[in-house]
């Protein structure tokens, strides 16, 4: 039987097919990449009301723990109940339409539904209290929250990123008093880093990279 296609056409077809496959693969990978997290790094998700950390932290100087009251005691930092917001906002900006969901929540007892900004997989057991008690300042993971009018994820939160600190925590630790300080200075010199490690008793760091430290 005679060949249906000549050699040139076959070659073109082959190259075309390969290119198509490569293109599809690239498209799939890049799309997969883009949807890795529901909320991209640096892009604030839609929230029920436009809460501004910048305003509350920088302008008003409210301590993190006023609202995130579990951060020193529990794995979960805690989200303020509507009643906590209302300690001020029963008086301030009462009639602003942006606050309508808050007042509706207090009136009806229906809870506000915030979109989680920093989301870890369910098999990761992150504990806020463990990090706070070891001198990891808020800003190391949450970024300069005091400069965010709308809250966005500041770090990749990938395992590689977690490990970069767990392998070598010295440069990320501050004194206990400075944990909630957005301007806290990280240790610069080797001696300072060592002093922090000694202070928090993490000179032996083997268990920091145990699987069981974060996965159970």
């Amino acid at each position: 039987m005679a060949q249906v296609f000549d050699r040139g056409l076959v070659l073109a077809l082959k190259i075309g097919t390969l290119v198509a496959i490569a293109l599809t693969a690239t498209l799939l990978v890049s799309w997969r990449w883009s949807i890795d997290y529901p909320n991209a790094q640096g892009a604030p998700p839609q929230q029920p009301l436009p809460f501004s950390h910048q305003h509350h932290v920088r302008d008003d100087g409210i301590d993190c723990r006023y609202c995130h009251s579990g951060v020193e005691k529990s794995a979960f930092a805690g989200m303020p109940g509507s009643n906590v917001c209302l300690t001020c906002h029963s008086q301030l900006f009462r009639d602003s339409p942006a606050f309508a969901p808050l007042h509706a929540s207090a009136r009806t007892g229906r809870r506000l539904q915030w979109t989680r900004v920093n989301d870890l997989p369910d098999f990761v057991y992150f504990d806020h209290s463990a990090h706070v008690s070891h001198g990891v300042p808020c800003k190391e993971c949450h970024g300069r929250i005091d400069q965010m009018p709308l809250t966005a994820r500041a770090r990749s939160l990938e395992m590689q990123w977690c490990l970069s600190c767990h392998r070598n925590p010295g440069g990320h630790l501050v004194s206990p008093a400075a944990v909630f300080d957005m301007n806290a200075q990280l240790p610069a010199s080797r001696a300072e880093r060592r002093a922090q490690l000694a202070h928090y008793d993490v000179l032996s760091r083997k268990w920091l990279t145990d699987c069981s430290t974060c996965h159970r």
Partner: protein, 943 residues
């Protein structure tokens, strides 16, 4: 010409080409689907409270003291609530029936709470109705009763150990003097009650102090199994079983069905029930309390030793009559115990803890008679399932149908609900205000941990309806205790009671009595029976109450290791005589009734006797419990509540019975090591004597240093009673799924800690050996994992990393202890909302295709560790308690830091009895065992 050979080859090539295209197509499809299916995680919500409740700290569990109930009696527990969801039950260390441990039923109570099959709405004649309609209908009924001063009002309960329920029943009785109150619990204590009346002329409870009993004889009394006092008695019994030359107790057991106490006994013999009864009288004669023997009696080989021991121990000796022994045996045993002089030391009598106990069988018979006579105008069933479990010859269902107004309050719309006009969903223990007394009289307040999931009402609320009181259950309970607490410090005492889970000074006071036996009890020996039937409560579902609980259904029964079924148990020699084998179907016939059952041949069972566990063959238990096993109640008649005669006929059919342990003997291996106390005294190192030669000293693997924590576990086989509490506690703590009968058949059960049971080759001894992951220093599983999903961490734990596991199962294959469990299918129910709420938020829920195993409760270690570091200190011994350790009534498990010189686990491992399982493999397990020491009477032949 065609060459067949090449032709065939061409065909093959063709086939290959086809295959290749198919593979490419599938690959393309798979790639496309992989891209399409990966849509990234869904955005998650954080939903804070509107008004944050006091003391709540999201992420931290809260523990509430309350109590669970078994046959009406309470056991104090602490319920762990995560964000308001009860997820785990721990024992209450302050409660006398718990002392910090639990039984399997308390552990399974959370699944009972979240069971999606619970009744969720009132039913009127089987159709969905509302509580308001019920109120309206009942009001009409009450008006009729008002006119008749309560004539025709009948209330049915179990044993009433709730002071509030008692006061409500009293109030109801004074409002309606014509009211009749009946009690029925299929696992009743009629014999005990009648026995005490025979001996003392009044009803009394008897409680035992096993921690002071040096010689104990059980007459078919399995006091450590499935009863309200079991946890406490197991604890006390274990305290005198530590191998110590002059402080170790000696146990004798006579039993028909091999029970847990028989497995612990130093001398045991299996006899059919009537022979045990006869032996009791023979013993009475030997001890000088009975004038003569009653009929012929077999003489166990240890009879003389037993009598000598009992007499020598005197006040420190104790004889226990089983609940199935007839009243006269109970009376006789009272006389024996008093003759031995242990009153106030090994046992005490108290007024009955339950309110007005009556003989249950008589009580339910009177009720059935009243129904037949048409005298019942309104029947309120507050508890129980009499259509299913009342004596078969009462025809309770047919009688109940004739009652005009019947109300059944129950957690499930069950068999009885189907015959009642009204079914009302009952709230779970963790959803209600109530109170309950323990076996020794100690009262606890039952407080709700969560609002009722499906509406539902408690017995107190229903009685308040009958009393036309608008009071909420909380106020009713509080009101009752207000009278006890008096006016001073009222609030403070109430709060203390809630916080502690026990109310101080409520233990029943002892009364000193002397028994007097009537001559009549020594007449009429029990009639001889060719084949005896022995009704027992099932170890998992009890009387059927827990039939819809999948954790309990899948829990292997201690002796047979059967799951998901009951069976007609017979001894090997009886099986040979009757020509039946395990799995055969037989028809059991007695009193004109028949039941078809599967046979299970059980070593150590009494000859000429068939044991049938109750609680199976349910028809309206729910999707889990329906249609499995056979209904032994259909053979249980008024005259034979526990024993009788039975005919057994082989049908020729087979029944599929599923066990988790297929081989029951050690075949000369030393998995469980045992010595007598005398041998132990001569050679304390008996457990490791031979091993020293066997364990290789050298190894190719480097020893890893552990300078921080070094976790280890020791399991004392001398203490373990084989009750399975550890298995189910682990299941609750670690989100372990159930797999169902068919998967168990394939050996795919998921329990992280199993309890192996071995029958001895040469005597009737039984050993139990709980086997969790050994956390080997040289773990064979780690060497074969291609993806590093199972590795050692810096605390020496062999951890399983679920998110790395790809499911090759190499590790399981290479594990000599077979403790790794694989999710062959999607066992975890991902769809049922209420079951999601049940799960421990600190433990990953495993998916299909992932290996899992005991983690030494890593979540508890980490929680403790983070907490200790927050406070700037190291963990102290006893701060991390694994779930199995916490639940164990006998305190067989010790766990802790091997680097801590003062830790309990280190002390345990320093014992000469400490040995490693399969040590010759040089796996160097972190979990080790303490060998068993038994205390049989030194034989004359032994030097």
């Amino acid at each position: 010409m065609h060459d067949r050979k090449y032709d065939a080859g061409a065909d093959d090539l063709d086939a290959f080409a086809q295959e290749r295209r198919r593979v490419l197509k599938l690959m393309a499809a798979a790639a496309a689907m992989a891209g399409g299916a990966c849509s990234g995680p869904p955005p998650e919500k954080i939903v804070p409270y509107v008004d944050t409740p006091e003391q709540s700290l999201p992420g931290k569990p809260l523990f509430y003291a309350t109590a669970t109930r078994l046959s009406g009696y309470g056991t104090g527990v602490l319920v762990e609530a995560n964000e308001g969801r009860p997820t785990k039950v721990e024992g209450n260390p302050l409660h006398p029936a718990s002392l910090g441990a639990t039984d399997v039923f308390s552990q399974a109570a959370v699944l009972q709470l979240w069971d999606p099959a619970r009744s969720q709405t009132p039913l009127r004649d089987g159709r969905v109705a509302t509580w308001d309609e019920f109120l309206l209908d009942t009001e009409n009924g009450l008006r009729e009763l008002d006119a008749s001063r309560g004539d025709g009002l009948f209330v049915l309960t179990g044993a009433v150990c709730s002071p509030t329920l008692q006061s409500q029943l009293e109030a109801l009785h004074s409002r309606y003097p014509g009211m009749r109150w009946h009690q029925y619990d299929p696992l009743h204590r009629d014999n005990e009650l009648r026995g005490s009346e025979l001996a003392f002329g009044r009803a009394v409870d008897t409680r035992y102090s096993f921690d002071r009993a040096r010689v104990v004889l059980s007459l078919d009394a399995d006091v450590v199994s499935a009863a309200p006092h079991s946890v406490r008695y197991a604890h006390d019994l274990a305290s005198l079983r530590r191998p110590h030359a002059d402080r170790m107790s000696r146990l004798y057991a006579l039993e028909s069905f091999p029970g847990l106490i028989g497995a612990r006994a130093d001398h045991r013999v299996a006899l059919p029930p009537a022979d045990i009864e006869r032996f009791a009288f023979r013993l009475g004669r030997d001890l000088g309390v009975a004038p003569a023997v009653v009929g012929d009696s077999p003489a166990p080989s240890f009879e003389k030793a037993l009598v000598d021991d009992l007499l020598a121990a005197g006040a420190a000796a104790l004889v226990l009559p089983g609940p199935a022994m007839p009243p006269r045996v109970h009376a006789l045993v009272h006389a024996i115990n008093h003759r031995l002089g242990g009153q106030g030391q090994t046992f005490e009598h108290t007024p009955p803890v339950a309110f007005k106990p009556v003989a249950n069988v008589e009580s339910i018979r009177t009720l059935a008679d009243a129904m037949r006579a048409g005298r019942v105008r309104m029947l309120v069933i507050l508890e129980g399932n009499p259509v299913y479990d009342a004596p078969a010859d009462l025809e309770f269902a047919a009688r109940l149908r004739t009652v005009a107004r019947s109300v059944h309050l129950s957690a499930y719309a069950d068999e009885t609900s189907a015959y009642c006009r009204w079914h009302l969903p009952r709230v779970h223990e963790f959803e209600q205000w109530s109170d309950v007394r323990a076996f020794d009289g100690t009262a606890s307040i039952v407080q709700p941990i969560i609002a009722p999931l499906y509406g539902g009402h408690s017995a107190h609320e229903l009685l308040n309806v009958l009393l036309r009181s608008g009071a909420a259950a909380h106020d009713t309970v509080r009101g009752v205790w207000q009278r006890t607490f008096g006016n001073t410090d009222q609030d403070e005492r109430w709060r203390t009671a809630l916080r502690d889970g026990v109310i101080a000074n409520t233990r029943a006071a002892a009364v000193t009595l002397a028994p007097e036996l009537a001559e009549s009890i020594f007449s009429n020996p029990p009639p001889p029976v060719d084949l005896a039937i022995n009704f027992v409560a099932d170890q998992s579902v009890r009387d059927g109450e827990f039939a819809n609980n999948a954790w309990l259904q899948e829990l292997p029964r201690s002796m047979s290791k059967l799951t998901w079924d009951n069976a007609a148990y017979v001894s090997p020699s009886t099986a040979a005589r009757l020509k039946i084998a395990s799995g055969d179907e037989v028809e059991l016939r007695r009193a004109g009734r028949t039941v078809r059952a599967g046979v299970w041949v059980l070593p150590n069972h009494a000859d000429d006797c068939v044991t049938v566990p109750l609680g199976y063959g349910r028809t309206r238990a729910g999707p889990v419990g329906d249609g499995i096993g056979f209904d032994a109640y259909r053979l249980r008649t008024l005259d034979a509540p526990w024993h009788g005669s039975v005919e057994l006929i082989r049908t020729g059919a087979q029944r599929l019975l599923v066990t988790t342990q297929h081989h029951s003997r050690m075949e000369g291996r030393d998995l469980v090591r045992t010595a007598t106390l005398a041998q132990f005294a001569r050679n304390p190192q008996f457990a490791t004597d031979e091993e020293i030669e066997k364990v290789p000293e050298h190894t190719l693997y480097p020893d890893r240093p552990y300078d921080g924590y070094k976790w280890g576990m020791a399991i004392d086989l001398n203490a373990c009673i084989g009750c399975n509490a550890c298995t189910i506690a682990c299941q609750a703590e670690n989100n372990i799924p159930v797999v169902g009968k068919e998967q168990v058949l394939r050996g795919r059960e998921m329990h992280w800690i199993r309890v192996d049971r071995y029958f001895h080759d040469h005597d009737s001894g039984v050993d139990f050996q709980p086997v969790p992951c050994m956390h080997c220093e040289h773990a064979p599983c780690e060497e074969v994992c291609p993806v590093g999903a199972t590795v050692h961490d810096s605390q020496g734990l062999n951890v399983q990393v679920y998110n790395r596991c790809v499911g090759t199962r190499f590790c399981s294959n290479n594990c000599p202890y077979k403790v790794r469990r694989f999710n062959f299918l999607q066992y975890v129910d991902r769809t049922q909302e209420s079951l999601k709420a049940l799960r421990n938020p600190d433990v990953t829920v495993r998916e299909r295709g992932v290996m899992e195993k005991c983690s030494y409760c890593i979540q508890r270690i980490q929680r403790g560790r983070i907490e200790a570091e927050r406070l700037g200190r190291k963990l102290r011994d006893g701060e991390v308690v694994t779930a199995c350790q916490a639940a164990c009534p006998a305190q067989a498990i010790s766990f802790g830091d091997l680097n801590d010189p003062g830790s309990a686990v280190r002390a345990a491992k320093a014992s000469p009895r400490n040995y490693a399982l399969l040590a010759e493999l040089n796996t160097r397990p972190r979990t080790t065992y303490l060998a068993r020491v038994i205390n049989p009477r030194p034989d004359d032949t032994e030097e």
